[in-house]
């Protein structure tokens, strides 16, 4: 068994008794192996501490949010008064610009999880071209090629990658309509919803974006945490 597979099995807790013995032996005999295991243990510890710190912050913020002190109440009142005096125009401008800032903060290109460089795989020609354009950040071509690919093959993922390519090109309205067509039973559905929520936010449709985010935050998906964070800031 490869070293990497042994280490993975160790962290997954799936090593057989024999593999465990091989693991323990390598730990003593192979300094490089031992070093790698130690590194990954430290990574685990670092991520655990990071997650705990985030949760702690969430609970602290919640606690503070629930109990505005007299001083804070005064500030809230004063802030509201200032907003009224300065006028709705500035407020609306601020809302629009903050939507842009939030979009920029939360948007990240969706990675190519479908067709990376795996040896021995023979994808179709069009698919290969589309992903190559996407990986090379040639989004204008990627958008066209994923469109063609969807028409030819009906692959759901082509809709997501076309949608993200459109977002990269700043074509938010088209991105929104493409992403809204992603079927609910597709394996990348939550990502299509997430990017749609972002495109709606960028288009200034806060309520619709908020609705989608609330739905995502409620579930147990890989984007739930980010959706909740963004929702709290909207």
């Amino acid at each position: 068994m490869e070293h990497e597979a042994l280490i993975t099995g160790y962290f997954e807790g799936t090593l057989t008794a024999e593999q465990q013995r091989a693991f323990d032996r390598l730990l003593v005999e192979d300094a490089g192996f031992a070093q790698e295991v130690e590194f990954q243990r430290e990574v685990r510890q670092a991520i655990t501490l990071d997650q705990r710190a985030q949760l702690k912050q969430l609970l602290r913020d919640h606690e503070q949010h629930n109990k505005p002190t007299l001083r804070m109440r005064w500030w809230i009142g004063a802030a509201a008064a200032v907003l009224l005096v300065v006028g709705g125009g500035t407020f609306l401008w601020h809302r629009a610009s903050s939507a842009r800032v939030l979009y920029a903060e939360y948007y990240q290109t969706y990675p190519n999880t479908v067709m990376p460089t795996v040896r021995g795989e023979q994808p179709g020609f069009l698919e290969q071209q589309a992903f190559r354009a996407y990986d090379n950040a040639d989004y204008a071509n990627a958008e066209k090629l994923f469109g063609d690919l969807y028409r030819q093959s009906g692959e759901d993922y082509a809709l997501l990658y076309r949608g993200v390519s459109l977002l990269e090109l700043g074509r938010f309205t088209t991105a929104d309509s493409v992403l809204s067509g992603y079927p609910a039973e597709g394996s990348l559905y939550v990502y299509a919803r997430w990017y749609r929520a972002l495109s709606l936010l960028r288009l200034g449709k806060r309520d619709e974006s908020r609705e989608l985010l609330a739905e995502l935050a409620d579930g147990q998906t890989p984007v739930s945490q980010e959706a909740q964070q963004l929702l709290n800031r909207l």
Binding site: I47, D50, L188, G219
Partner: protein, 182 residues
């Protein structure tokens, strides 16, 4: 009050809203429970928050699956342990002359390790979203590569494996730069 199984599912789901709900549900009772111990009121909430985090982690790791007592009892048990621990630490803050002889040999290694972990934590925050997600699911949520592959929609396990290796490599480089730069 919700059924225990529903509560456990909520804990496992790990959405922020659910954690806050559980936090609010038991806060009052915990604060009253804590009056038995000589702990400052501002520390009680701090300990309660830590106990909620432990409860949440244990639920996700499946440690509460065969639980005989109620989740509330478990939570209060964790909180009680933490309060006693805090009291013990406070009472031990008086410096002792003999302590100097008891410094463990590996203290230096331990300090270095702590520094490395802190650097890794900072490096982790600098990784892209996808890397953070994969590493978090594997090392923190304790998910197997197969499960991560399905959840994140990877076409096959090799793709995920090479992505994970790249993420670790990137993290290693980020830390190395800082260790040398420090």
């Amino acid at each position: 009050m919700e059924k225990e199984s529903v509560l456990l599912d909520r804990l496992k789901s790990g959405s922020n809203r659910d954690i806050i709900r559980i936090y609010d549900d038991h806060k009052g009772a915990f604060v009253r429970f804590a009056t038995k111990y000589p702990i400052a009121s501002e520390d009680v909430l701090d300990i309660y928050q830590d106990a909620i985090i432990v409860l949440w982690e244990h639920a996700r790791q499946g440690k509460l699956d065969g639980l005989k007592s109620s989740i509330k009892t478990y939570l209060f048990g964790v909180g009680k342990y933490m309060m006693l621990n805090r009291l013990k630490k406070t009472s031990m803050q008086q410096p002792m002359v003999d302590e100097i002889t008891e410094i463990p040999d590996n203290l230096y290694d331990e300090t270095l390790r702590r520094e490395r972990v802190e650097l890794l934590r900072k490096g982790f925050r600098q990784l892209g979203n996808q890397c953070q997600k994969i590493l978090r699911m594997f090392y923190y949520d304790g998910k197997k590569l197969d499960e991560i592959q399905t959840e994140l929609g990877y076409a096959n396990k090799d793709v995920l494996k090479s992505q994970k290796s790249r993420c670790l490599k990137q993290l290693k480089e980020l830390t190395k730069e800082k260790l040398h730069g420090a």
